[in-house]
Amino acid sequence: MDQVLLTRTLFGSSMAFHIIFATLGVGVTLMILFAEIMRWIRKDDDYGIMAKRWTKGFAILLGVAIPSGTIVGVMLSLLWPGFMEIVGKVIAVPFQIEIFAFFLEAVFMSIYIYAADRLSNVMRVISVALVAFGASSSAYLINIAHSWMNTPRGFQLTDGQVTDVDPWAAVMNPSMQYTSKHVLATAYMTGAFVLVSIAAYKLLRKTNSDHERAYHKKGLMLTLVVALIASLYTATNGHDTAKMLHNEMPLKLAAAEGLFETQANAPLAIMGIPDPETGTIIGGIEIPGMLSWLATGTTEGVVQGLNDFPREEWPPLFVHTLFNIMVGIGFSLIGIAGIAIAWSVLFRGRDFPAWLLLILVTTGPLSMLAIEMGWIFSCTGRQPWTIYGIQSTTDAATQSGNIGTLFILFMALYVMLLVLTGLVLKYYFSKNPLHEDLTKMKVQVLD
């Protein structure tokens, strides 16, 4: 493997690892906040236990989330020194504010976890709200930098020198809104669906007591509602993103959709493999006019195809598959969540059937898979550029050797941490089963 590809693989794997924890960090904190609010409104201590148990799981994940975030943050300078040199001059502001959001999250997370018993109800909700706010804002801010890589603004690069810096223009770049909101909404969606999976899995057990079943049903409904809202929003936002791509990065859109010829009435290709030699999609289904309608609002609209661009600027065409998997999962999840909620509205009080619960168990992993696909799509679809149209990935990458060794070391680290964190979570929750928490609560009420 050549140096640049190896560097990309190392950074990509690190991101793929970090994004699991980062996404849950944003999504689960929001769910904890909702559980706290429900407990407050409904005066139902089940929600208090829910918040407590989710928080414990989250606190374990934090042990990896925080250092993995530190790793990717520092790795940017190690692996992409040429890129970070421009970042520092042009788009340092969101990175900097992100740090403050990060502080807010860390400080109030500690307060929420370690001082919960000394806080009033209001203060506890405020602390966890600040945790969720900190987590969400840092995700929002860091993705401003990511959006700027796709649609860079606010500077000129002449002979390798950065001039005419306008930090505000860099922040307010054309894709900023779409990208950051997309990442936030999908994080909420994934956090909620992962908790949907757990609740559905628990409901599948035959040994639940009545109280346990009631608890899991409350959890399932709360998470399903949030998951549905977030995934519906993601769909509309995804549509806006396609329109933005049409205007700002037509090549990326063409690669995502596997469109070779510039045309009006452009078809939407679902699955299939784009073949650069023949300029057609092998297999797959084509819906006539659909792509034009999605990108321009009318089937008459002209959508640019890959052939309009020099071949050496094309991203790898497998991004079409990644893009399809991401969108496909997104729509399936809307359907699943919709059916589950419809079920409980129509048949009030009746238990979910086992088949539906089984499907619900898959939503968390599927959602996380979509996140990974989306990230690989977004960053591979930008190739061969690191800063689109301005800095090539080759120019951004480090010149230092030893990347192979580092790759092996970091992979070993990630695999170890994934396995151990899984085991630790399993150990903790089997040592501290729900029924103990529920019994403790009853004893407290009787006292």
Partner: protein, 345 residues
């Protein structure tokens, strides 16, 4: 004062804050490990009581330092990122192991002992490794061929300056954390644990000073370019030494508690000592970030960006300071948190 000087001063402050907070954090992890098997004392619990809520916040200071360097001195981020890829990657891996295993150790009671040993020992190595980056930046260890620069690891490994710095890093983290934990124990009203950490601080104080002086002495032949400024600002180092001596003596000052010593004043004076010494070191290092290849002027960010960042840090700190005060009151002051129940022993 020029913009470049303001920027480097901010970097120094962040570096200094992280050096202190990080030393205490990793040191406390070590002490939690060191005393965990001891049945007679709560020294380990006190260390964990400090560590649990604070490690995440400490870690953010590290990210703050890196981000500030990228923003204010993108050229330095480029240079250091390229050169330091191996040592910094090693620090990152150790950091991940340390944090993860610390959280595991709080969670999995069955294997707490093993997990704490892993996080304690990896944590111990981190500051030592970080400090060893300092002598590499003073020149003599970097070679270049064409555009590429690289560290001469053979030269580094045979340089006495590197070893005195590693020793200094180790001694500092143990001394600072022992001193702070003695103060923390006293705040908790636990005079028995206070006595233990006071004794550790008494032993480690002179060791740290010895390493500091030997690090400086082994540095001078490697970096003659720094010496002239050092001579000019000798009073900073003299003041630093005075703060060290007085700070150390506070361990014997009279107090209204069972044991001798006023650790709070000690902590403040020792922090002052490190502040003065770091400031002096930083001034002597000017104008170079990496001698002789990179100066602060070359590495400096765009002037427009500089002003934006300055406002950003101003605004951010204004929001954060109240949060830190709440944090301090809940975890460093509140007796309900500090005191350890008998059943937890």
């Amino acid at each position: 004062m020029s913009e470049v000087y303001i920027a480097i001063l901010i970097i120094w402050v962040f570096l200094f804050v992280y050096a202190i907070a990080g030393s205490i954090d990793f040191g406390a992890g070590f002490w939690a490990m060191f005393y965990q098997t001891s049945k007679e004392t709560q020294a380990s619990q006190i260390a964990n009581r400090y560590l649990s809520p604070s490690w995440e916040v400490t870690n953010v200071f590290l990210v703050l330092l890196v981000i500030a360097l990228v923003g204010f001195f993108p050229g330095a981020a480029f240079y250091l990122g390229t050169l330091m890829i191996l040592p910094v990657s090693l620090v990152l891996i150790l950091l991940a192991i340390r944090s993860a295993f610390m959280v595991y150790s709080f969670t999995v009671k069955k294997y707490t002992r093993t997990l704490t040993v892993i996080s304690g020992l990896t944590g111990l190595l981190i500051p030592a490794l970080m400090v060893s980056i300092l002598p590499v930046s003073i020149g003599g260890f970097i070679a270049s061929s064409g555009e590429r620069h690289f560290i001469l690891f053979n030269e580094v490994l045979t340089s006495p300056a590197v070893y005195t710095h590693i020793g200094f890093g180790l001694a500092t983290e143990l001394f600072l954390s022992a001193l702070l934990l003695s103060d923390y124990a006293r705040e908790a009203g636990n005079e028995e644990v206070y006595g233990i950490y006071r004794k550790n601080a008494i032993v480690l104080g002179p060791v740290t000073l010895l390493f500091a002086v030997s690090a400086l002495l082994t540095l001078i032949p490697e970096a003659p370019w720094m010496v002239e400024t050092m001579m000019d600002i000798w009073y900073l180092f003299a003041l630093s030494l005075a703060a060290a001596v007085i700070g150390y003596s506070t361990l014997w000052w009279k107090s209204d508690k069972t044991n001798l010593g006023r650790p709070r004043i000690g902590v403040l004076l020792i922090i002052l000592q490190f502040g003065l010494a770091s400031f002096g070191y930083g001034l002597s290092h000017m104008p170079y970030i990496l001698y002789p290849d990179l100066t602060v002027y070359e590495a400096f960010t765009d002037p427009v960006m500089f002003r934006w960042l300055l406002y950003g840090y101003g605004g951010g700190l204004a929001i954060l300071i109240p949060a830190f005060i709440v944090f301090w009151r809940l975890f460093m002051k509140d007796k309900r948190y500090l005191q350890i129940n008998q059943e937890e022993k």
